[in-house]
Symmetry: C2
Subunit: 245 residues, 2 copies
C-alpha cells in the first residue's frame, strides 16, 4: 500500500457498484484518464486497480467490515478524491402487493446498505475536499404509491446525503456530499427492453462519468451544493443538471 | 371472529407497539371508551382484546405474516377504524461511529418494519374512511448528521406516509394517512432520566390518545391532511398541532 499513490499526480476514487453498467463506464473512463480505481461489487471489475468482492449473503456489518478493510489495506494513509456509489436496483409494489416486504427489503439492501458503507468509506478515507456522490431518485422527492419499498429506500438515501453534508457527520465540511437523480440511463439493458423508446432523452453513461470527473477536480463552489441532489435531464441528446434541495 | 363486532356500535383499532408507554396509554384510553383493541408488540398488553406477540428474532416477512394472520383471524371481514403505529426507538451515531451499521439496522427494524406492516394491515383491513397514523420525527425533516440511522429510518417513514396517501397505494383514497411527530413525550422513562427538565413542554400520553380518537371519529376534512405530518408541540402544559407537509 505504500506505493499505491507513489506517482503523486495519480488520484484515486472508489466506485461502489463498479461491475454494473454505470459503474463499469465510470471505471473505464477514470482509468483512461490515469486514475487509480477501487471497485466494490458482487463481482470483480477487471479494469479496476483492486476489487472488494462482496457476497450477497453476508450481513450488512460484514460487508461494511470487508469494504473498510479492503480500502484501508489498498490505500493505507492516502486519501480518495472521490467515493461514488452507483449501486442500486428497482422494484415496484404498493401496500397490497404480495411481495411488498421482499421488495422493500431488497431495495433497502441494494440502495441503503451500499450508500451507508460508502459514507463510512468517506468518513475514513475521503480527502478533506473530496466528493461523495450517491444515487438517489427523482420520483422519491414526492409520493411513490406504486413503488413503496423503492421510494422508502431512496428517501433514506436522500436523508443520508443531507445528513452527511451536515456539521458533525464525520465527513469534512470542505467535502461535497451529493447524489445524482438519474432519469433513464442509456444502458445495454434499457436498449434491449425498450428498443423503440426515444433514446435522445436517455443519459449516456460516459456523460455521467464526465460529470463525476468534473466535480471531483473542481473547487467546491463549482460543484453541486453539498447536501443537494442533481437530476440528470437529457433532451435532444443533450444532458443538463437540474438542482434539487 | 363472527362475533367480534356483534355489538355494531363497537369500533376497533389496532395499536402497533401496544405494550410501550404511548401504546399502553392509547389502549387504556380506547378501552375506557368501549373500543375493541388489537395490540401488536413483543409482549402482550393484557388490556387489549387480542394480542399479536412477535419475537425480535423473526424475519420481517414472518412478522408481517403473523400480524396479518392475527388480525384476520380476530376480525374476519369486519373493518378497523384506525391503525396506529407508535413503535420505534432512537439511536445516535454519525458516519464515523463504530456501531453505525448496528444502530441503522436497529432503527430500520424498529421504525420501518413496524410502519410497513401497519400499512399492510391498513391495505387489508382498514375501513375505507379510516385513519392510519404512523410515528415520524421532526428532526428528520432536515439533516440529522449526529443520528444517521435514526434519520434515514424516519425519512423512510415520512416517505411511506406520503406514498400510502397517494392514489394506487392499496389504501382507500377516502382514508387518512398521517404521522405524528412527537417532541418529548411525558413518559415514566423520560421522567426518570430527565427529572429536572421542564415538564410543561412535554406532551402527556393521554393527550396523544385523545387526538387519535378525535381524528378517527371525525370526517376527513376535520383530520390532518392525508399525506402530511403533525408535530405535537406542548408549551405551558398545552399541546397544539403544527402541520408539516
Amino acid at each position: 500500500s505504500q506505493t499505491f499513490l507513489s506517482n503523486m499526480s495519480a488520484q484515486a476514487i472508489l466506485v461502489y457498484g463498479g461491475a454494473g453498467a454505470l459503474g463499469s463506464a465510470c471505471i473505464t473512463f477514470f482509468k483512461e484518464k490515469g486514475w487509480k480505481v477501487i471497485s466494490v461489487d458482487l463481482v470483480a471489475n477487471e479494469l479496476a486497480d483492486t476489487n472488494v468482492v462482496l457476497s450477497v449473503t453476508t450481513s450488512w456489518n460484514e460487508q461494511s467490515r470487508q469494504v473498510l478493510e479492503g480500502v484501508s489495506s489498498f490505500i493505507g494513509n492516502d486519501k480518495l478524491s472521490g467515493v461514488i456509489s452507483v449501486a442500486g436496483g428497482w422494484a415496484g409494489g404498493n401496500a397490497a402487493a404480495e411481495d411488498l416486504i421482499a421488495s422493500a427489503d431488497l431495495m433497502w439492501k441494494q440502495s441503503v446498505w451500499t450508500s451507508v458503507i460508502s459514507g463510512q468509506v468517506a468518513a475514513a478515507h475521503l480527502a478533506p475536499d473530496g466528493v461523495l456522490c450517491l444515487t438517489g431518485a427523482r420520483p422519491a422527492l414526492g409520493p411513490t404509491p406504486g413503488m413503496i419499498g423503492y421510494g422508502m429506500a431512496k428517501a433514506a438515501v436522500h436523508q443520508l446525503v443531507k445528513s452527511l453534508a451536515g456539521a458533525g457527520s464525520g465527513i469534512s465540511q470542505d467535502a461535497t456530499v451529493t447524489a445524482i437523480l438519474p432519469i433513464t440511463l442509456d444502458t445495454p439493458q434499457n436498449r434491449k427492453y425498450m428498443p423503440n423508446a426515444d433514446h435522445t432523452t436517455w443519459t449516456p453513461l460516459t456523460v455521467v462519468a464526465e460529470y463525476f470527473l468534473e466535480w471531483i477536480t473542481s473547487p467546491k463552489d463549482k460543484r453541486p451544493k453539498s447536501g443537494s441532489f442533481v437530476a440528470l435531464v437529457t433532451e435532444n441528446s443533450q444532458t443538463k443538471l437540474v438542482a434539487h434541495e
